[in-house]
Protein backbone atom coordinates (compact mmCIF):
# COMPACT_ATOMS: atom_id res chain seq x y z
CA UNK A 1 0.00 0.00 0.00
CA UNK A 2 1.39 3.37 -0.92
CA UNK A 3 1.26 6.22 1.52
CA UNK A 4 -0.61 9.10 -0.02
CA UNK A 5 -0.10 12.12 2.12
CA UNK A 6 -2.10 14.31 -0.21
CA UNK A 7 -5.22 12.31 0.55
CA UNK A 8 -4.91 13.11 4.26
CA UNK A 9 -8.27 14.05 5.69
CA UNK A 10 -9.37 17.59 4.97
CA UNK A 11 -11.29 17.61 8.21
CA UNK A 12 -12.13 20.48 10.52
CA UNK A 13 -11.89 19.75 14.21
CA UNK A 14 -15.33 19.99 15.86
CA UNK A 15 -13.95 22.38 18.47
CA UNK A 16 -12.84 24.77 15.74
CA UNK A 17 -16.36 25.19 14.43
CA UNK A 18 -17.65 27.03 17.48
CA UNK A 19 -14.55 29.15 17.54
CA UNK A 20 -15.08 30.06 13.88
CA UNK A 21 -18.63 31.23 14.57
CA UNK A 22 -17.40 33.30 17.49
CA UNK A 23 -14.72 34.92 15.36
CA UNK A 24 -17.19 35.70 12.58
CA UNK A 25 -19.53 37.30 15.12
CA UNK A 26 -16.63 39.28 16.55
CA UNK A 27 -15.58 40.45 13.10
CA UNK A 28 -19.15 41.45 12.23
CA UNK A 29 -19.44 43.35 15.50
CA UNK A 30 -16.10 45.05 14.83
CA UNK A 31 -17.25 46.12 11.36
CA UNK A 32 -20.51 47.55 12.70
CA UNK A 33 -18.65 49.38 15.43
CA UNK A 34 -16.25 50.82 12.86
CA UNK A 35 -19.24 51.90 10.75
CA UNK A 36 -20.56 53.81 13.75
CA UNK A 37 -17.26 55.53 14.41
CA UNK A 38 -16.53 56.60 10.85
CA UNK A 39 -18.85 57.44 7.98
CA UNK A 40 -20.67 54.48 6.43
CA UNK A 41 -19.65 55.93 3.10
CA UNK A 42 -16.12 54.64 3.60
CA UNK A 43 -17.04 51.22 4.93
CA UNK A 44 -17.49 49.45 1.59
CA UNK A 45 -14.04 50.60 0.49
CA UNK A 46 -12.59 49.47 3.79
CA UNK A 47 -14.21 46.04 3.47
CA UNK A 48 -12.77 45.72 -0.05
CA UNK A 49 -9.31 46.54 1.28
CA UNK A 50 -9.75 44.04 4.11
CA UNK A 51 -10.54 41.28 1.60
CA UNK A 52 -7.53 42.20 -0.51
CA UNK A 53 -5.23 42.17 2.52
CA UNK A 54 -6.61 38.80 3.67
CA UNK A 55 -5.89 37.32 0.25
CA UNK A 56 -2.34 38.65 0.35
CA UNK A 57 -1.85 37.19 3.82
CA UNK A 58 -2.51 33.70 2.42
CA UNK A 59 0.22 34.19 -0.17
CA UNK A 60 2.74 36.05 1.95
CA UNK A 61 1.90 35.45 5.61
CA UNK A 62 1.05 31.77 5.31
CA UNK A 63 3.08 30.64 2.32
CA UNK A 64 5.99 33.07 2.76
CA UNK A 65 5.92 34.27 -0.85
CA UNK A 66 6.34 38.04 -0.94
CA UNK A 67 4.88 39.39 -4.17
CA UNK A 68 5.10 42.89 -5.60
CA UNK A 69 2.44 42.04 -8.12
CA UNK A 70 -0.72 41.19 -6.23
CA UNK A 71 -2.51 44.26 -7.60
CA UNK A 72 -2.44 42.62 -11.03
CA UNK A 73 -5.18 40.25 -9.86
CA UNK A 74 -7.10 42.92 -8.00
CA UNK A 75 -6.98 44.96 -11.19
CA UNK A 76 -7.96 42.00 -13.35
CA UNK A 77 -11.02 41.44 -11.16
CA UNK A 78 -11.90 45.13 -11.26
CA UNK A 79 -11.43 45.51 -15.02
CA UNK A 80 -13.06 42.15 -15.78
CA UNK A 81 -16.19 43.26 -13.94
CA UNK A 82 -16.15 46.76 -15.42
CA UNK A 83 -15.68 45.54 -18.99
CA UNK A 84 -18.57 43.11 -18.57
CA UNK A 85 -20.82 45.86 -17.24
CA UNK A 86 -19.98 48.13 -20.16
CA UNK A 87 -19.86 45.65 -23.06
CA UNK A 88 -21.89 42.72 -21.67
CA UNK A 89 -24.97 43.28 -19.57
CA UNK A 90 -25.71 45.08 -16.32
CA UNK A 91 -25.85 42.04 -14.05
CA UNK A 92 -23.63 42.54 -11.00
CA UNK A 93 -23.33 38.79 -10.43
CA UNK A 94 -22.20 38.13 -13.98
CA UNK A 95 -19.71 41.00 -13.73
CA UNK A 96 -18.21 39.56 -10.54
CA UNK A 97 -18.03 36.11 -12.11
CA UNK A 98 -16.28 37.46 -15.20
CA UNK A 99 -13.74 39.31 -13.05
CA UNK A 100 -13.06 36.23 -10.95
CA UNK A 101 -12.77 33.97 -13.98
CA UNK A 102 -10.39 36.35 -15.75
CA UNK A 103 -8.12 36.67 -12.72
CA UNK A 104 -8.24 32.96 -11.90
CA UNK A 105 -7.29 32.10 -15.46
CA UNK A 106 -4.43 34.56 -15.41
CA UNK A 107 -3.22 33.32 -12.03
CA UNK A 108 -3.41 29.70 -13.19
CA UNK A 109 -1.31 30.54 -16.23
CA UNK A 110 1.18 32.95 -14.68
CA UNK A 111 1.38 30.94 -11.46
CA UNK A 112 2.98 28.12 -13.38
CA UNK A 113 5.66 30.58 -14.43
CA UNK A 114 6.30 32.80 -11.42
CA UNK A 115 6.29 29.96 -8.88
CA UNK A 116 9.41 28.56 -10.48
CA UNK A 117 11.23 31.38 -8.71
CA UNK A 118 11.34 32.40 -5.09
CA UNK A 119 12.65 35.08 -2.80
CA UNK A 120 13.60 38.33 -4.48
CA UNK A 121 13.06 36.90 -7.96
CA UNK A 122 9.50 35.93 -7.08
CA UNK A 123 8.78 39.39 -5.69
CA UNK A 124 10.21 41.14 -8.74
CA UNK A 125 8.90 38.88 -11.51
CA UNK A 126 5.41 39.46 -10.13
CA UNK A 127 6.11 43.16 -10.23
CA UNK A 128 7.18 42.78 -13.86
CA UNK A 129 3.90 41.09 -14.79
CA UNK A 130 1.97 43.69 -12.82
CA UNK A 131 3.75 46.47 -14.71
CA UNK A 132 2.94 44.74 -18.01
CA UNK A 133 -0.72 44.40 -17.00
CA UNK A 134 -0.82 48.07 -16.04
CA UNK A 135 0.64 48.98 -19.40
CA UNK A 136 -1.82 46.76 -21.31
CA UNK A 137 -4.76 48.46 -19.65
CA UNK A 138 -3.29 51.90 -20.18
CA UNK A 139 -2.29 51.70 -23.78
CA UNK A 140 -2.86 48.74 -26.12
CA UNK A 141 -6.31 47.96 -24.70
CA UNK A 142 -7.23 51.63 -24.40
CA UNK A 143 -9.84 51.16 -27.12
CA UNK A 144 -11.85 49.14 -24.58
CA UNK A 145 -10.57 50.44 -21.22
CA UNK A 146 -10.35 54.10 -22.32
CA UNK A 147 -6.82 54.24 -20.89
CA UNK A 148 -6.08 56.90 -18.29
CA UNK A 149 -9.59 58.34 -18.53
CA UNK A 150 -11.01 55.26 -16.86
CA UNK A 151 -14.22 53.39 -17.40
CA UNK A 152 -17.57 54.29 -15.85
CA UNK A 153 -20.08 51.50 -15.41
CA UNK A 154 -23.38 50.87 -13.69
CA UNK A 155 -24.78 47.60 -12.43
CA UNK A 156 -28.44 46.73 -11.87
CA UNK A 157 -29.50 46.43 -8.23
CA UNK A 158 -28.91 42.99 -6.69
CA UNK A 159 -32.10 40.87 -6.62
CA UNK A 160 -33.78 43.82 -8.27
CA UNK A 161 -33.84 45.78 -4.99
CA UNK A 162 -30.43 46.22 -3.41
CA UNK A 163 -28.63 49.13 -4.99
CA UNK A 164 -24.87 49.03 -4.45
CA UNK A 165 -24.68 52.76 -4.97
CA UNK A 166 -26.35 53.26 -1.63
CA UNK A 167 -23.76 53.42 1.12
CA UNK A 168 -25.57 51.15 3.57
CA UNK A 169 -26.28 48.42 1.05
CA UNK A 170 -22.77 48.62 -0.34
CA UNK A 171 -21.37 48.21 3.15
CA UNK A 172 -23.75 45.33 3.95
CA UNK A 173 -22.87 43.50 0.75
CA UNK A 174 -19.10 43.99 0.96
CA UNK A 175 -19.17 43.23 4.68
CA UNK A 176 -21.01 39.96 4.05
CA UNK A 177 -18.51 38.97 1.38
CA UNK A 178 -15.70 39.86 3.79
CA UNK A 179 -17.17 37.57 6.45
CA UNK A 180 -17.47 34.77 3.90
CA UNK A 181 -13.89 35.25 2.74
CA UNK A 182 -12.71 35.24 6.34
CA UNK A 183 -14.58 32.01 7.04
CA UNK A 184 -13.18 30.39 3.91
CA UNK A 185 -9.60 31.39 4.66
CA UNK A 186 -9.98 30.43 8.29
CA UNK A 187 -11.10 26.90 7.31
CA UNK A 188 -8.43 26.69 4.63
CA UNK A 189 -5.54 27.77 6.83
CA UNK A 190 -6.51 25.40 9.63
CA UNK A 191 -6.92 22.45 7.28
CA UNK A 192 -4.07 20.06 6.43
CA UNK A 193 -3.70 22.08 3.23
CA UNK A 194 -3.05 25.17 5.32
CA UNK A 195 -0.52 23.26 7.38
CA UNK A 196 1.27 22.20 4.20
CA UNK A 197 1.32 25.76 2.91
CA UNK A 198 2.84 26.94 6.17
CA UNK A 199 5.38 24.12 6.05
CA UNK A 200 6.39 25.29 2.58
CA UNK A 201 7.10 28.70 4.10
CA UNK A 202 9.33 27.15 6.75
CA UNK A 203 11.27 24.73 4.60
CA UNK A 204 10.15 23.74 1.15
CA UNK A 205 12.85 21.12 0.55
CA UNK A 206 11.82 19.16 3.61
CA UNK A 207 8.18 19.20 2.57
CA UNK A 208 9.21 17.90 -0.82
CA UNK A 209 11.34 15.29 0.86
CA UNK A 210 8.25 14.03 2.69
CA UNK A 211 6.76 13.17 -0.67
CA UNK A 212 4.55 16.18 -1.37
CA UNK A 213 4.43 17.83 -4.73
CA UNK A 214 5.07 21.29 -3.31
CA UNK A 215 4.74 23.02 -6.66
CA UNK A 216 1.12 21.88 -6.92
CA UNK A 217 0.24 23.18 -3.48
CA UNK A 218 2.00 26.48 -4.09
CA UNK A 219 0.12 26.81 -7.36
CA UNK A 220 -3.24 26.10 -5.71
CA UNK A 221 -2.56 28.62 -2.94
CA UNK A 222 -1.41 31.20 -5.49
CA UNK A 223 -4.57 30.78 -7.58
CA UNK A 224 -6.79 30.99 -4.48
CA UNK A 225 -5.05 34.12 -3.19
CA UNK A 226 -5.22 35.76 -6.63
CA UNK A 227 -8.89 34.88 -7.10
CA UNK A 228 -9.82 36.36 -3.72
CA UNK A 229 -7.89 39.50 -4.66
CA UNK A 230 -9.96 39.59 -7.85
CA UNK A 231 -13.11 39.29 -5.76
CA UNK A 232 -12.02 42.42 -3.91
CA UNK A 233 -11.38 44.08 -7.27
CA UNK A 234 -14.79 43.10 -8.60
CA UNK A 235 -16.50 44.47 -5.49
CA UNK A 236 -14.51 47.68 -5.91
CA UNK A 237 -15.92 48.09 -9.42
CA UNK A 238 -19.49 47.36 -8.33
CA UNK A 239 -19.34 49.83 -5.45
CA UNK A 240 -17.44 52.60 -7.19
CA UNK A 241 -18.94 52.33 -10.65
CA UNK A 242 -15.61 53.49 -12.02
CA UNK A 243 -12.21 51.95 -12.70
CA UNK A 244 -9.00 53.59 -13.88
CA UNK A 245 -5.47 52.21 -14.36
CA UNK A 246 -4.80 53.16 -10.74
CA UNK A 247 -6.54 49.95 -9.60
CA UNK A 248 -3.92 47.86 -11.37
CA UNK A 249 -0.91 50.07 -10.65
CA UNK A 250 2.06 48.24 -9.08
CA UNK A 251 2.37 51.01 -6.50
CA UNK A 252 -0.76 49.70 -4.81
CA UNK A 253 1.11 46.57 -3.75
CA UNK A 254 3.03 48.50 -1.15
CA UNK A 255 -0.15 49.38 0.74
CA UNK A 256 -1.16 45.73 0.91
CA UNK A 257 2.27 44.50 1.98
CA UNK A 258 2.50 47.09 4.71
CA UNK A 259 -1.01 46.46 5.98
CA UNK A 260 -0.15 42.78 6.44
CA UNK A 261 3.15 43.57 8.12
CA UNK A 262 1.81 46.27 10.45
CA UNK A 263 -0.75 43.81 11.81
CA UNK A 264 1.41 40.71 11.73
CA UNK A 265 1.84 38.39 8.77
CA UNK A 266 0.68 34.81 9.00
CA UNK A 267 -2.46 35.41 11.01
CA UNK A 268 -5.86 36.42 9.66
CA UNK A 269 -6.60 38.59 12.69
CA UNK A 270 -3.23 40.25 12.23
CA UNK A 271 -4.01 41.01 8.58
CA UNK A 272 -7.34 42.59 9.52
CA UNK A 273 -5.91 44.66 12.37
CA UNK A 274 -3.02 45.72 10.16
CA UNK A 275 -5.38 46.74 7.38
CA UNK A 276 -7.39 48.82 9.85
CA UNK A 277 -4.25 50.44 11.24
CA UNK A 278 -2.96 51.16 7.75
CA UNK A 279 -6.27 52.71 6.69
CA UNK A 280 -6.21 54.81 9.84
CA UNK A 281 -2.72 56.09 9.01
CA UNK A 282 -3.62 56.71 5.39
CA UNK A 283 -7.06 58.26 5.80
CA UNK A 284 -7.02 60.04 9.12
CA UNK A 285 -3.52 61.43 9.34
CA UNK A 286 -4.03 63.66 6.26
CA UNK A 287 -7.07 65.09 8.06
CA UNK A 288 -5.55 65.36 11.50
CA UNK A 289 -2.14 66.69 10.54
CA UNK A 290 -3.27 70.01 8.97
CA UNK A 291 -5.50 70.60 12.00
CA UNK A 292 -2.66 69.82 14.36
CA UNK A 293 -0.20 71.98 12.50
CA UNK A 294 -2.64 74.89 12.54
CA UNK A 295 -3.12 74.36 16.25
CA UNK A 296 0.58 74.20 17.03
CA UNK A 297 1.45 76.74 14.36
CA UNK A 298 4.24 74.61 12.89
CA UNK A 299 4.62 72.96 9.52
CA UNK A 300 4.19 69.22 9.99
CA UNK A 301 5.11 66.53 7.48
CA UNK A 302 2.40 64.62 5.66
CA UNK A 303 1.22 61.08 6.34
CA UNK A 304 3.80 59.33 4.17
CA UNK A 305 6.57 60.36 6.53
CA UNK A 306 4.69 58.96 9.51
CA UNK A 307 4.06 55.73 7.65
CA UNK A 308 7.80 55.54 7.03
CA UNK A 309 8.45 56.01 10.74
CA UNK A 310 5.92 53.29 11.59
CA UNK A 311 7.61 50.93 9.14
CA UNK A 312 11.04 51.49 10.67
CA UNK A 313 9.53 50.92 14.12
CA UNK A 314 7.98 47.65 12.99
CA UNK A 315 11.25 46.34 11.64
CA UNK A 316 13.47 47.47 14.48
CA UNK A 317 11.33 47.12 17.55
CA UNK A 318 7.85 45.75 16.97
CA UNK A 319 8.72 42.60 15.08
CA UNK A 320 5.67 40.55 14.21
CA UNK A 321 3.42 43.58 13.95
CA UNK A 322 0.66 44.52 16.39
CA UNK A 323 -0.64 40.98 16.84
CA UNK A 324 2.79 39.39 17.13
CA UNK A 325 3.91 41.93 19.72
CA UNK A 326 0.79 41.49 21.83
CA UNK A 327 1.10 37.69 21.62
CA UNK A 328 4.74 37.84 22.69
CA UNK A 329 3.84 40.05 25.65
CA UNK A 330 1.09 37.64 26.71
CA UNK A 331 3.39 34.66 26.34
CA UNK A 332 6.00 36.30 28.52
CA UNK A 333 3.47 37.04 31.18
CA UNK A 334 1.93 33.55 31.23
CA UNK A 335 4.73 31.57 32.94
CA UNK A 336 4.54 33.92 35.90
CA UNK A 337 0.79 33.49 36.29
CA UNK A 338 0.69 29.77 35.58
CA UNK A 339 3.73 28.81 37.64
CA UNK A 340 3.22 25.25 38.73
Amino acid sequence: MTFMPERAAFSVQPAARGALLREIALLAAGLLLLALVIRVHWMADFAVFFILVLSFDLLYGYMGHLSFGHMLYFGAGAYGAALWLVYGNASAWAALAVGLAAAAGMAALLGGVVLRTRGASFALINMAFNEIGHFLVQSPLAAYTLGEDGLSCTADPLFGAISLYEDRWAFAFCGAVLLAVYALLRLLTRSPFGLLVRSIRENESRVRFLGYDTFRFKWIAFVIASTIAALAGGLFTLVQGFVSPRVISPFGNVDVIFAVLIGGAGSLAGALIGAAAFLAIKNFLPVIIPELSRLLDVKLPQWELWLGVVLLLIVFSLRGGIVGTVQARLRNRKPAGEAQ
Partner: protein, 278 residues
Protein backbone atom coordinates in the same frame (compact mmCIF):
# COMPACT_ATOMS: atom_id res chain seq x y z
CA UNK B 1 18.67 56.03 -35.99
CA UNK B 2 21.85 57.48 -34.48
CA UNK B 3 19.71 59.59 -32.23
CA UNK B 4 17.92 56.48 -30.97
CA UNK B 5 21.22 54.77 -30.26
CA UNK B 6 22.59 57.77 -28.39
CA UNK B 7 19.35 58.13 -26.45
CA UNK B 8 19.44 54.43 -25.51
CA UNK B 9 23.05 54.67 -24.41
CA UNK B 10 22.27 57.79 -22.35
CA UNK B 11 19.41 56.09 -20.53
CA UNK B 12 21.58 53.01 -20.11
CA UNK B 13 24.39 55.13 -18.67
CA UNK B 14 22.08 56.71 -16.09
CA UNK B 15 20.66 53.31 -15.20
CA UNK B 16 24.20 52.03 -14.76
CA UNK B 17 25.16 54.86 -12.39
CA UNK B 18 22.09 54.13 -10.33
CA UNK B 19 22.21 50.33 -10.43
CA UNK B 20 25.80 49.85 -9.26
CA UNK B 21 24.87 50.67 -5.66
CA UNK B 22 21.73 48.57 -5.86
CA UNK B 23 23.63 45.59 -7.26
CA UNK B 24 26.28 45.87 -4.54
CA UNK B 25 23.71 45.87 -1.73
CA UNK B 26 21.94 42.99 -3.37
CA UNK B 27 25.08 40.98 -4.05
CA UNK B 28 26.60 41.28 -0.59
CA UNK B 29 23.60 41.50 1.70
CA UNK B 30 20.68 40.23 -0.38
CA UNK B 31 18.83 43.41 0.42
CA UNK B 32 16.52 45.09 -2.07
CA UNK B 33 17.45 48.63 -1.08
CA UNK B 34 14.57 51.03 -1.75
CA UNK B 35 16.42 53.77 0.14
CA UNK B 36 18.66 54.07 -2.92
CA UNK B 37 15.86 55.92 -4.69
CA UNK B 38 15.73 58.44 -1.86
CA UNK B 39 19.50 59.10 -2.02
CA UNK B 40 19.15 59.67 -5.77
CA UNK B 41 16.27 62.12 -5.45
CA UNK B 42 17.66 64.03 -2.49
CA UNK B 43 21.00 64.39 -4.27
CA UNK B 44 19.31 65.98 -7.28
CA UNK B 45 17.35 68.43 -5.13
CA UNK B 46 20.46 69.44 -3.23
CA UNK B 47 22.18 69.93 -6.57
CA UNK B 48 19.43 72.25 -7.77
CA UNK B 49 19.67 74.27 -4.56
CA UNK B 50 23.46 74.50 -4.74
CA UNK B 51 23.25 75.47 -8.40
CA UNK B 52 21.73 78.80 -7.42
CA UNK B 53 24.35 79.24 -4.68
CA UNK B 54 27.42 78.77 -6.87
CA UNK B 55 26.33 80.88 -9.80
CA UNK B 56 25.01 78.10 -12.05
CA UNK B 57 28.32 76.25 -12.19
CA UNK B 58 27.29 72.67 -12.99
CA UNK B 59 30.49 71.00 -11.80
CA UNK B 60 30.75 72.95 -8.53
CA UNK B 61 27.14 72.22 -7.64
CA UNK B 62 27.66 68.56 -8.55
CA UNK B 63 30.69 68.31 -6.27
CA UNK B 64 28.87 70.06 -3.44
CA UNK B 65 25.83 67.78 -3.67
CA UNK B 66 28.05 64.69 -3.77
CA UNK B 67 29.88 65.86 -0.64
CA UNK B 68 26.63 66.69 1.11
CA UNK B 69 25.18 63.25 0.34
CA UNK B 70 28.13 61.28 1.73
CA UNK B 71 27.10 61.69 5.39
CA UNK B 72 23.47 60.98 4.48
CA UNK B 73 24.49 57.71 2.83
CA UNK B 74 26.69 56.85 5.78
CA UNK B 75 23.81 57.41 8.22
CA UNK B 76 21.51 55.16 6.16
CA UNK B 77 24.15 52.45 6.06
CA UNK B 78 25.04 52.69 9.72
CA UNK B 79 21.56 52.94 11.22
CA UNK B 80 19.34 51.08 8.76
CA UNK B 81 21.19 48.82 6.35
CA UNK B 82 23.73 47.45 8.80
CA UNK B 83 21.04 46.56 11.29
CA UNK B 84 19.28 44.56 8.60
CA UNK B 85 22.19 42.23 8.12
CA UNK B 86 21.02 38.62 8.04
CA UNK B 87 17.39 39.70 8.14
CA UNK B 88 14.80 38.24 5.84
CA UNK B 89 14.16 39.86 2.48
CA UNK B 90 10.86 41.38 3.49
CA UNK B 91 12.02 43.20 6.61
CA UNK B 92 14.85 44.74 4.64
CA UNK B 93 12.34 45.91 2.03
CA UNK B 94 10.02 47.43 4.62
CA UNK B 95 12.78 49.29 6.45
CA UNK B 96 14.40 50.71 3.33
CA UNK B 97 11.00 51.59 1.90
CA UNK B 98 10.30 53.43 5.14
CA UNK B 99 13.44 55.47 4.55
CA UNK B 100 12.30 56.18 0.98
CA UNK B 101 8.89 57.41 2.19
CA UNK B 102 10.42 59.62 4.88
CA UNK B 103 12.89 61.08 2.39
CA UNK B 104 10.27 61.67 -0.31
CA UNK B 105 7.97 63.42 2.13
CA UNK B 106 10.78 65.56 3.50
CA UNK B 107 11.63 66.58 -0.07
CA UNK B 108 8.00 67.47 -0.77
CA UNK B 109 7.94 69.56 2.41
CA UNK B 110 11.12 71.46 1.61
CA UNK B 111 10.96 71.88 -2.16
CA UNK B 112 7.29 71.28 -2.97
CA UNK B 113 5.89 68.96 -5.63
CA UNK B 114 6.35 71.07 -8.75
CA UNK B 115 8.97 69.56 -11.08
CA UNK B 116 12.17 71.55 -11.48
CA UNK B 117 13.72 71.79 -14.93
CA UNK B 118 17.52 71.89 -15.14
CA UNK B 119 19.36 73.51 -18.03
CA UNK B 120 21.67 71.57 -20.28
CA UNK B 121 25.10 72.61 -18.92
CA UNK B 122 26.83 72.27 -22.31
CA UNK B 123 24.10 73.52 -24.56
CA UNK B 124 25.93 72.68 -27.75
CA UNK B 125 24.72 70.20 -30.32
CA UNK B 126 26.80 68.72 -33.08
CA UNK B 127 25.16 67.99 -36.41
CA UNK B 128 25.46 64.33 -37.24
CA UNK B 129 23.84 62.54 -40.15
CA UNK B 130 21.42 65.40 -40.64
CA UNK B 131 20.39 65.65 -36.97
CA UNK B 132 21.46 67.69 -33.99
CA UNK B 133 23.14 65.60 -31.33
CA UNK B 134 23.54 67.26 -27.90
CA UNK B 135 27.18 67.07 -26.79
CA UNK B 136 25.94 66.69 -23.22
CA UNK B 137 24.43 63.28 -23.94
CA UNK B 138 27.61 62.05 -25.54
CA UNK B 139 29.48 63.21 -22.44
CA UNK B 140 27.09 61.26 -20.21
CA UNK B 141 27.60 58.09 -22.23
CA UNK B 142 31.37 58.51 -22.19
CA UNK B 143 31.36 59.07 -18.43
CA UNK B 144 29.51 55.79 -17.95
CA UNK B 145 32.19 53.95 -19.92
CA UNK B 146 34.87 55.73 -17.88
CA UNK B 147 33.10 54.72 -14.68
CA UNK B 148 32.93 51.13 -15.83
CA UNK B 149 36.70 51.11 -16.39
CA UNK B 150 37.37 52.84 -13.08
CA UNK B 151 35.15 50.46 -11.13
CA UNK B 152 36.78 47.46 -12.77
CA UNK B 153 40.17 48.74 -11.68
CA UNK B 154 38.85 49.55 -8.21
CA UNK B 155 37.40 46.10 -7.66
CA UNK B 156 40.47 44.32 -9.00
CA UNK B 157 43.32 46.42 -7.67
CA UNK B 158 42.34 48.18 -4.47
CA UNK B 159 42.14 46.28 -1.19
CA UNK B 160 38.60 47.43 -0.38
CA UNK B 161 37.48 46.47 -3.86
CA UNK B 162 39.03 43.04 -3.66
CA UNK B 163 37.52 42.32 -0.25
CA UNK B 164 34.11 43.30 -1.54
CA UNK B 165 34.55 41.30 -4.74
CA UNK B 166 35.36 38.26 -2.63
CA UNK B 167 32.45 38.98 -0.31
CA UNK B 168 30.08 39.12 -3.29
CA UNK B 169 31.06 35.52 -3.99
CA UNK B 170 31.08 34.24 -0.43
CA UNK B 171 30.64 36.69 2.45
CA UNK B 172 30.98 34.04 5.16
CA UNK B 173 34.18 32.75 3.64
CA UNK B 174 35.72 36.21 3.72
CA UNK B 175 34.60 36.68 7.30
CA UNK B 176 36.31 33.42 8.22
CA UNK B 177 39.58 35.00 7.14
CA UNK B 178 39.16 37.53 9.92
CA UNK B 179 38.22 40.38 7.58
CA UNK B 180 35.52 42.77 8.73
CA UNK B 181 33.27 42.60 5.68
CA UNK B 182 30.77 45.11 7.05
CA UNK B 183 33.33 47.88 7.40
CA UNK B 184 34.55 47.40 3.85
CA UNK B 185 31.04 47.14 2.70
CA UNK B 186 30.00 50.43 4.25
CA UNK B 187 32.72 52.20 2.22
CA UNK B 188 31.37 50.64 -0.94
CA UNK B 189 27.80 51.46 0.06
CA UNK B 190 28.68 55.15 0.34
CA UNK B 191 30.44 54.90 -3.01
CA UNK B 192 27.34 53.34 -4.58
CA UNK B 193 25.16 56.09 -3.12
CA UNK B 194 27.47 58.76 -4.51
CA UNK B 195 27.19 57.15 -7.94
CA UNK B 196 23.40 57.23 -7.68
CA UNK B 197 23.57 60.95 -6.93
CA UNK B 198 25.92 61.42 -9.87
CA UNK B 199 23.50 59.54 -12.11
CA UNK B 200 20.59 61.62 -10.85
CA UNK B 201 22.37 64.91 -11.43
CA UNK B 202 23.49 63.84 -14.90
CA UNK B 203 19.93 62.84 -15.75
CA UNK B 204 18.36 66.05 -14.42
CA UNK B 205 19.05 68.18 -17.54
CA UNK B 206 17.57 65.46 -19.75
CA UNK B 207 14.39 65.10 -17.68
CA UNK B 208 13.12 67.20 -14.77
CA UNK B 209 13.45 66.75 -11.02
CA UNK B 210 10.33 65.69 -9.14
CA UNK B 211 9.93 64.10 -5.70
CA UNK B 212 8.95 60.73 -7.15
CA UNK B 213 11.81 60.39 -9.63
CA UNK B 214 13.46 57.88 -7.27
CA UNK B 215 10.45 55.56 -7.40
CA UNK B 216 10.46 55.44 -11.17
CA UNK B 217 14.11 54.67 -11.66
CA UNK B 218 14.00 52.05 -8.87
CA UNK B 219 11.61 49.84 -10.83
CA UNK B 220 13.80 50.02 -13.92
CA UNK B 221 16.97 49.46 -11.89
CA UNK B 222 15.50 46.30 -10.33
CA UNK B 223 15.17 45.00 -13.86
CA UNK B 224 18.80 45.94 -14.56
CA UNK B 225 20.03 44.15 -11.44
CA UNK B 226 17.99 41.03 -12.23
CA UNK B 227 19.00 40.92 -15.88
CA UNK B 228 22.62 41.63 -14.96
CA UNK B 229 22.74 38.62 -12.67
CA UNK B 230 22.02 39.97 -9.18
CA UNK B 231 25.21 41.48 -7.86
CA UNK B 232 27.34 40.80 -10.91
CA UNK B 233 29.01 44.15 -11.59
CA UNK B 234 30.02 43.43 -15.18
CA UNK B 235 26.56 42.10 -15.85
CA UNK B 236 25.03 45.25 -14.38
CA UNK B 237 26.91 47.42 -16.88
CA UNK B 238 25.88 45.44 -19.92
CA UNK B 239 22.33 44.95 -18.66
CA UNK B 240 21.96 48.70 -18.07
CA UNK B 241 23.12 49.56 -21.59
CA UNK B 242 21.06 46.76 -23.13
CA UNK B 243 17.89 47.77 -21.31
CA UNK B 244 18.54 51.42 -22.14
CA UNK B 245 18.64 50.41 -25.80
CA UNK B 246 15.48 48.33 -25.37
CA UNK B 247 13.74 51.43 -24.00
CA UNK B 248 15.03 53.68 -26.75
CA UNK B 249 14.22 51.34 -29.62
CA UNK B 250 10.77 50.47 -28.25
CA UNK B 251 10.12 54.11 -27.52
CA UNK B 252 10.94 55.06 -31.09
CA UNK B 253 8.18 52.91 -32.48
CA UNK B 254 5.74 52.87 -29.57
CA UNK B 255 6.56 55.41 -26.92
CA UNK B 256 4.14 54.19 -24.23
CA UNK B 257 5.55 50.66 -24.36
CA UNK B 258 9.14 51.62 -23.50
CA UNK B 259 8.91 50.87 -19.77
CA UNK B 260 6.76 47.76 -20.16
CA UNK B 261 9.22 46.23 -22.62
CA UNK B 262 11.95 46.42 -19.98
CA UNK B 263 9.81 44.24 -17.73
CA UNK B 264 9.05 41.82 -20.53
CA UNK B 265 12.80 41.35 -20.97
CA UNK B 266 13.23 40.98 -17.22
CA UNK B 267 10.52 38.32 -16.97
CA UNK B 268 12.08 36.43 -19.86
CA UNK B 269 15.52 36.55 -18.25
CA UNK B 270 14.22 35.25 -14.93
CA UNK B 271 12.47 32.40 -16.71
CA UNK B 272 15.26 31.40 -19.03
CA UNK B 273 18.05 31.71 -16.50
CA UNK B 274 19.40 28.21 -15.89
CA UNK B 275 19.81 28.31 -12.13
CA UNK B 276 18.10 30.20 -9.36
CA UNK B 277 20.62 32.68 -7.94
CA UNK B 278 18.91 33.22 -4.65
Amino acid sequence: MIQTVVYGLTIGAILYFFSVGLALTFGTMHIINFAHGMVYTLGVYLFITFLQGVGQSFLLALAASLLAMLPVAWVIERFVIRRLYGESLDYAIIATYGVLLIGTDAIKMIWGTTPYPVNDPVGIAVPLAGMDLPVYRIAVVLSAFALYGALRAFFRRSLVGRVVTAALEDADGVRCLGIDVDRHFSIVFVLGSALAVLGGVLYAPISTADPYMGFHILLLAFAVVIVGGMGNLNGTFFAALALGMVMAVTGRFWSQAANAMVFVVMALVILLRPKEAH
